[in-house]
Amino acid sequence: MINYILRRIAYAIPILIGVNIITFVLFFVVNTPDDMARMQLGDKHISEAAITKWKEERGYDKPILWNNNAQAVGKVTETIFFQNSVKLFLFDFGRSDSGRDISYDIGQRMLPSLSITVPGLVFGLLAYITFGLILAFFRGSYIDVSGVILCVAMMSVSGLFYIIGGQFLIGKLLHLVPISGYDTGFNSIKFIVLPVFIGLIGGIGASTRWYRTIFLEEMGKDYVRTAKAKGLSETSVLYKHVLMNGLIPILTGVVVILPSLFMGSLIVESFFAIPGLGSYTIDAISSQDFAIVRSMVFLGSVLYIIGLILTDISYTLVDPRVRLN
């Protein structure tokens, strides 16, 4: 098992290198630091000196791959590639273009992100599995048909509608919770309820339909027929056999997004003014802070790859038939 995990981690390294090279090419080769400086400083007729100063402050004045002016190892390390891309592997994100320490900001913002995504995931799973199971239990009846139609209709509504509509209805008309904002400790609950609830509503259509299909597939299998033939009641077949076996694909499917929960949700956080990583990214995009976007790309990839590895491990734990190779 440990052997397998180590092999998987070794396999992840070339992928991370690939991600790093892609972001490096996108940010430094396709567009030179000069372009970035001009964009940031705004003015088209900006002086050469200002650009040089801007680059110097951020360490973008070094050569891209090979520094002939430096000594020994410095030929490789005193370059943009080493300083800005290789260092990401050590989770040394450096400073943002506006001069803040990115690692510190990320550490500060992880908790608010998690406080939205974790309850969202837990309550979401509970709700979707319940609905999916209900629809599958009443398969072919009016409840099922109208439920599926409702799911398709809810899938077709833009996620932005749920957010704007929810904020308007619950926050502005009913005054149940504040529209947006965040607080520390237990005070944050009243700010968390609405985004979690809206995220849950937004996912209902697609997830319920998907889980219903999984349960229906499970219900068509032989062992279910056997269980029924043995005389087990419909509900005990549903809970003991269908639900338990249906949970395998559902939970292993969830594992892949577990690490990404740290990243938060871009849209929800920016709408509800939650100081998490999602709104951090959005702010970086709108203020065109390339250093932050680059760090978030790398962080996101690392978390996704961890998710992939966890998924493979969870498969082997849940289903002994899956062999490790």
Partner: protein, 466 residues
């Protein structure tokens, strides 16, 4: 003088490809069968008609030209630097009848109070009359409601008349075709005894025609969906946004399709190091969060555009380039799913007897892939095209909200929502821009979802067998 944007060209290329496929499929029973199955489903046919209406709007909006200026002294025709589309011409006054600022749907008075100088010189603070909305009325406060109801009733009956005659014409054609009497055809339609569920088609057509006549009739002298901050008609904006949504939904798939098919087939067929390379490629691309990759690329495009401003002759051209670029980036982030599916299917197919036989006969690899493998994975391609569409339309709105979507100068539902998101905080609420964008998007995505469900059911052999 016609102008052809890159996306226009690609759209019409797509239209010709679809037409070519239809002509080709007519002669091949195995290609026709699943599509015939789709036409047997009432919901799918209703959805298809609604999609068709959207597509017609989108196509009319894809024919661009520089309008000719009438007042010119020389014999040489002089063209305006402005670019409009055929849809602009068809919509006519809708584009030009702009108010000063917000006005509610079907309103005759402006949304907010202003100081108005009366004839006797005194100033009062009141809601000013709109320039176009309800301009034909003498005293809108008492007349406008009856006028609107009158118009709706008249256009409703007009719409019914038109839809009854359209239904009649289709029934006539049907009865000619099937060598049945008119009455008999009608009965069969009502009882749904014909293979195609015509009753669903007729209901949808009647609804669409009636709604259209109502909207056309009302829009002659009102703003049906009100006006936005700069006084532009919201209905016009929503209609113009159709093209953007369709372009994103279709061109993205079109752009990534050749690449996804090629890599998927190659990985599954050759296996070995080619498979490893392709798998590495898509795992790497997949592990970059899609939104961030799009954000990074769009930021870079912005840098490029701001440094090469001279290369773009017009605002529209710049917006079009950005739209195309967005399609390409979305394509890059979304080809991996299809590629993985195709690879898995090809891995299974390459062990099948007919492929082995072809290999034993010494048929070339390329030929095997094109003649034997590609036709047998086409159902996966078809399903993923239609399934991706609705997701892409919704993604456009979110991306434009984040500011990494289409150009802000371009009409799109995302931009409408983005610019209207602060209006919801006003008191009283300005809701119509948001509502119009969401309604138009909802109808398109819902029909696309319903249609794609039918296509999936018809094409997926696993489901077809049951």
């Amino acid at each position: 003088m016609p102008v052809i944007f890159i996306t226009d060209g690609l759209i019409f290329l797509l239209v010709f490809m679809v037409l070519g496929f239809v002509l080709y499929a007519r002669g091949h029973e195995h290609l026709r069968a699943p599509w015939r199955d789709v036409t047997r489903r009432p919901i799918a046919m209703s959805a298809a008609i609604i999609l068709f209406v959207y597509i017609v709007f989108g196509l009319f909006d894809s024919l661009h030209f520089h309008p000719r200026l009438e007042a010119s002294d020389s014999n040489e025709p002089v063209y305006s630097s402005e670019i409009s589309s055929v849809l602009d011409v068809l919509l006519g006054d809708l584009r030009n009848n702009t108010e000063r600022t917000y006005s509610a749907p079907l309103a005759s008075y402006a949304f907010s109070k202003e100081m108005i100088e009366q004839t006797d010189g005194t100033q009062i603070r009141t809601y000013p009359r709109l320039k176009y909305g309800g301009a034909h009325l003498d005293d809108p406060s008492s007349q406008s409601n009856t006028d609107i109801i009158k118009r709706i009733l008249i256009s409703f009956f007009l719409g019914l008349l038109v839809s009854v005659s359209v239904t009649g014409i289709i029934l006539l054609i049907l009865s000619k075709r099937n060598n049945l009497g008119f009455k008999e055809t009608m009965n069969k339609c009502v009882r749904n005894e014909l293979p195609v569920p015509w009753y669903a088609i007729f209901i949808t057509l009647c609804l669409i025609i009636t709604i259209f006549t109502c909207v056309i009739c009302l829009s002659q002298s009102y703003h049906v969906f009100g006006t936005d901050k700069v006084g532009q008609d919201v209905l016009y904006q929503s209609l113009k946004s159709i093209r953007t949504g369709l372009v994103i939904g279709t061109l993205t798939t079109l752009i990534m399709l050749p690449f996804a098919i090629m890599t998927g087939l190659m990985a599954g067929y050759f296996r070995g190091w080619i498979d490893d390379v392709i798998q590495y490629l898509y795992t790497t691309l997949n592990s970059i969060p899609g939104v961030l990759l799009i954000a990074a690329s769009i930021l870079l495009l912005q840098v490029y555009i701001s440094n090469h401003e001279a290369d773009f002759s017009s605002l529209e051209q710049r917006g079009d380039l950005r739209l195309l670029f967005l399609c390409i980036i979305l394509g890059i982030t979304s080809w991996t799913g299809l590629c993985r599916l195709l690879r898995a299917e090809t891995l299974k197919l390459r062990e099948v007897d007919y492929v082995q036989a072809a290999q034993a006969f010494g048929v070339g690899n390329l030929r095997i892939m094109l003649r034997h493998l590609l036709p047998n994975v086409m159902h996966i391609v078809m399903i993923s095209i239609v399934l991706d569409f609705s997701g892409l339309v919704l993604a456009e709105a979110v991306l434009s909200y984040v500011g990494i979507g289409v150009d802000p100068s371009m009409h799109s539902w995302g931009n409408m929502i983005n610019s209207a998101r602060l209006e919801i905080a006003r008191d009283p609420v300005v809701w119509w821009s948001l509502a119009a964008a969401f309604i138009f998007m909802f109808i398109l995505v819902l029909s696309a979802n319903l249609f794609s469900d039918a296509v999936r059911d018809a094409f997926d052999p696993r489901i077809r067998e049951n």
